[in-house]
Structures are given as C-alpha cells and as structure tokens.
C-alpha cells in the first residue's frame, strides 16, 4: 500500500461503490437495509437512562427507539462496526492522522482549531437533527432508500444535495469575503 500517495483514496471509486453496494445487498438479504442515524438516538437514550432514568422514560421518541435501554442490538453493532473497520483500514494503509483542520477548511477559514471544532459541532447538530426529522441519513435514505426506490428517500436525497451544494459553493468559495 506504500505506493499510494497518503492523500489519495486507496480504492478506486468503482471498488468503493461496489463494496458499499455489496454490504447493502447482504444486509437486505439477511436482516434489513443499512442505517446509521437512529443509533445516535439509541446511544443518547441509553446514556440518558443511566443518568436520568425518569427523563429518558418520559421521552416517547427515546423510549420507542431504544426499547429495552440496551446497545446490544444488531443495529447498534452495525454502527459500532463502522469506526472499527475505518480504524483498522486507516492503520493498515498508514492513513491514521490526528490532523485537526482539513485542507479545504484551512484554505478558506485559516488554521485556527477552535473555529473548526465549533463549526464541526454545529454541522453535526444540523446533520442529526435533519436526519432524525427525515427518518434517515446518507446510509438509510440515500444508499438504502434510493436503492429500494422509496419516494421519501428520493425527496430527501434531492433536497439534501441541492442544499449541500448551494451551502458548500458559498461557504468554500474562492472569493475573499469581508
């Protein structure tokens, strides 16, 4: 793997896409389509139940998602597998990195770590708020949902990309602002 430049993806696009598609097919054949964002709610529910059990039990959405207040579920372990697989493959290909500010962010907003961390947090907030509002994320709606030709997923994916493209072109534009 040493022949690869450290900033180039290891796999060509077709191999990555084929791999993701095959994971989806195996998952649909054996259990159910893949999904990630619901497990953020499950983790929230289980953590809150540890600290404030009454509050957690009185929040119907947490109760409904988490059920028995346990993370020993197929769905959670699928999501727990993602960082495991990413960690092992980053390690195996020499791509483990503690860089805090990404290149594109640095180019536009400078190398300050505080600004990047704050906006990465806000972005994460919007991601999961939107994903739970829509009932899925890039995995559940775009990969699983569009593959099933679900109308809800097609609507979600189209508005997601429209909004993300407009935001990114404005946010990371080459023009200097201010």
């Amino acid at each position: 793997m040493a022949s690869h430049s450290p900033v180039e993806p290891v796999l060509p696009w077709w191999a990555g896409g084929l791999g993701i598609g095959l994971v989806l097919i195996v998952a649909v054949g054996l259990v159910q389509p893949i999904g990630v964002s619901t497990q953020y709610v499950a983790l929230d529910g289980v953590l809150l139940y540890r600290v404030l059990p009454e509050v957690a039990a009185q929040t119907p959405y947490l109760q409904e998602t988490t059920g028995e207040w346990t993370l020993a579920t197929y769905e959670f372990l699928f999501v727990a597998g993602i960082p495991l697989g990413a960690f092992l493959s980053a390690l195996a290909t020499g791509r483990f990195t503690t860089r805090l500010v990404p290149d594109e962010w640095n180019r536009r907003f400078g190398s300050g770590p505080g600004l990047r961390l704050v906006w990465a947090f806000i972005g994460g907030f919007l991601l999961l708020f939107g994903a739970r509002f829509g009932g899925g994320c890039t995995s559940g709606h775009m990969i699983s949902g569009v593959s099933q030709l679900a109308v809800s997923s097609i609507v979600f994916s189209v508005t997601l990309f429209a909004s993300a493209i407009v935001t990114a072109r404005w946010l990371y534009s080459n023009r200097r602002r201010g």
Binding site: V7, E8, P9, W14, G16, G17, L18, G21, L22, V31, Q32, V36, S37, V41, D44, G45, T59, Y74, L77, F78, G81, G85, A86, S89, A90, P102, W105, L117, V118, A120, F121, I122, G123, G124, F125, L126, L127, L128, F129, G130, F133, G134, G136, C137, T138, S139, I143, Q148, L149, A150, V151, S152, V155, F156, T159, L160, A164, T167, A168, Y172
Partner: protein, 176 residues
C-alpha cells in the same frame, strides 16, 4: 450471532468509507462544490449495485425491505437542514464515525454535535409529530408501487443509468 453479523457488516462498511475517501472533509466538500466528483461516483456506484441487487433479491422473495414514510413538506425541509450540516462539517453521520476512528479530532466534534442534535430532536418530537411530520402523509410509498409494477423492471435500467453516470463523471484529487 446476529450481533456479530452486525459488527462484521458495519466494519466492512466503515472500511469501504475510509478506503474510498468518503470520510475525507476535502473529498466531500470538493464533491459538493462540483470540483472533484469522486465521492459522487462512489455513491452512484453503490446505488447502482444496490438497486440491482436489492430488487433481484426482492423478485426472488428474499429481500427484507424497509421503506420509510413520505411526509411532504417535512421530508424536503429535513433534507435541506441535513444538507447545510453536511456542507459545514464535510461529514455525514456514518463518515463522521469513520473519520473519528481515523484520528481526526474535528470528526469527534461532529459526532458530539450529532448526539446533541439527535437528543434535541427527541425532546421536540411530540410537538413536531402533530405538525410537520403529519402534514402531507403518504406512508411508505415506492416508485414501483406507485406505478404498479415489479421493481426489477424499473431498477435494472436505473441501475445501468447510475453506473454509466458514475463512469462518465470526472473525479480525482487528495483526501487530506
């Protein structure tokens, strides 16, 4: 056994995200800026393969389908909110976990923000349920259901279209 299967499938998914550059802020934002469409090619290939495979399984009666409910305009608004977050952080809920495991500290901030966002949504759910989530309810509709046809006849040509598009779109550049 089922738990182990979840972990193995998740790990395969995470490895694919990492190895294809999908857990890179620069790759994602450059795809969204329409400068380097590598990640778009990955997604289109995944959907193309998925469309064909899932509907072949379905035709054989082996698929465990799970179609999400449609509610307009809530679904469009949700996609819009998600899109802004996607552009700002450069990660999605899954790739943030992959990037965090690769050691990137900003991805940890995104995961934390996501946990808070999901919790706030959980608390707001009772109010939203009676309002935006119930407006324009159509249930779990699919295109093939709407047209009254077997999915594979629709999925096969669409899959071919996705793969052709993935092949034709341009894309290259770094991941840092």
């Amino acid at each position: 056994m089922k738990l182990l299967l979840g972990l193995v499938l998740g790990a395969a998914f995470g490895a694919m995200l990492q190895l294809s550059g999908a857990s890179s802020h620069t790759k994602i934002t450059n795809t969204l800026r329409l400068k380097d469409l590598t990640v778009m090619k990955v997604i289109l290939t995944a959907i193309g393969v998925g469309l064909f495979g899932v509907h072949m399984l379905d035709a054989a009666g082996w698929a465990h389908m799970k179609v999400k409910d449609l509610y307009l305009p809530g679904m469009a608004l949700a996609g819009g909110i998600f899109g802004v977050g996607f552009a700002v952080t450069g990660y999605c809920p899954g790739t943030a976990l992959a990037a965090a495991a690769e050691g990137k500290p900003d991805a940890w901030a995104t995961v934390l923000g996501g946990l808070v966002g999901a919790l706030v949504f959980a608390f707001m759910f009772p109010e939203l349920e009676g309002y935006l989530l119930s407006m324009g309810q159509f249930g779990p509709v699919t295109v093939q259901g709407f047209l009254g046809m077997q999915g594979i006849w629709l999925a096969a040509p669409l899959a071919a279209g996705c793969l052709y598009l993935a092949w034709r779109l341009p894309g290259s550049g770094g991941t840092r």
